[in-house]
Symmetry: C2
Subunit: 159 residues, 2 copies
Amino acid sequence: MNATSGTLAIGALSKRTGCKVETIRYYERARLLPIPARSPGGYRLYGSAHLKRLTFIRRARALGFSIDEVRKLFKLADERTRPCAEVRVVAGAHLEDVQAKIADLRAMERVLRETVAQCANGRRADCPLIEALYREVPEQASHQPSAPNRRRKILKADQ
Amino acid sequence: MNATSGTLAIGALSKRTGCKVETIRYYERARLLPIPARSPGGYRLYGSAHLKRLTFIRRARALGFSIDEVRKLFKLADERTRPCAEVRVVAGAHLEDVQAKIADLRAMERVLRETVAQCANGRRADCPLIEALYREVPEQASHQPSAPNRRRKILKADQ
DNA sequence: CTTGAGTCTCTAGTTACTACAGACTTTACC
DNA sequence: GGTAAAGTCTGTAGTAACTAGAGACTCAAG
């Protein structure tokens, strides 16, 4: 639409960024994207600032930052005074999270692979995988979250 | 409570399995745990079958199986005819998912580590991490989900 | 018999979206 | 200019896997 000036309708912005229309509106509600101008008929009109900001969001999300972390990063990016150190803190914490998740997943992978392998050549009625699942839950508690860390909800039935 | 016979109140079952009381009730609503008997006053009373089943659930969840996959595994475990092969299919698909997640996370980790490292010794106002986030989103699309695979919601802002 | 811990149901919150329904706006074509 | 198709609007509700709270009730111990 509106080819004049740099304004984009939401669909065009969607195509440029690969971000779904509903998701863009969601980001607006979530206060990640600033409220755009509107056409006389009420359509959202985005400028290049929105494009840049949405690109940032997409990229950060692709790197696994949560919405809340993205908000933090924006704050740090917007106030242009010495962001580097503080950004490094946020990103460093996230990096540790990612590494912890990798470790967890690798442990899972190992158990799965071993059990599936035992399964593979078995032909009897008692499946080693099923048997394994019926065994006591390993405590595995001693795996201190690398920081006073609130996240990590995905992988663990922890606690 | 009720020390006679093998029955456990929900709190006792919770302690035995390390699964929160609310989660146990949630599993009942989700039809993962069979509906237990009740005391005259309406308290849930669990037997050893419930204990075993809940142990199974916890263990499978700890290995990253979804609730729905756990349901499938139960089905296969319950009908005791040649489960091994079919179980292997379910577990194998899950294993592939886990491996794909690991690959994604490792890619994230690499980018994060590199950028944070650049950050670390920087002292100027333009933070390399922030700059990196403002760059175009890499397409990275060509990463076919190893199966007609519906899951994989966590890591990607895919599509 | 009272007290306090345990349990009950029901509802709503979380995260990051996604998917409608039903109405309205814009654009494209004739 | 008129009409049809495509785009967009708001609002609500759904997803996964729990978690948290309110307010009422039960149970076991002293």
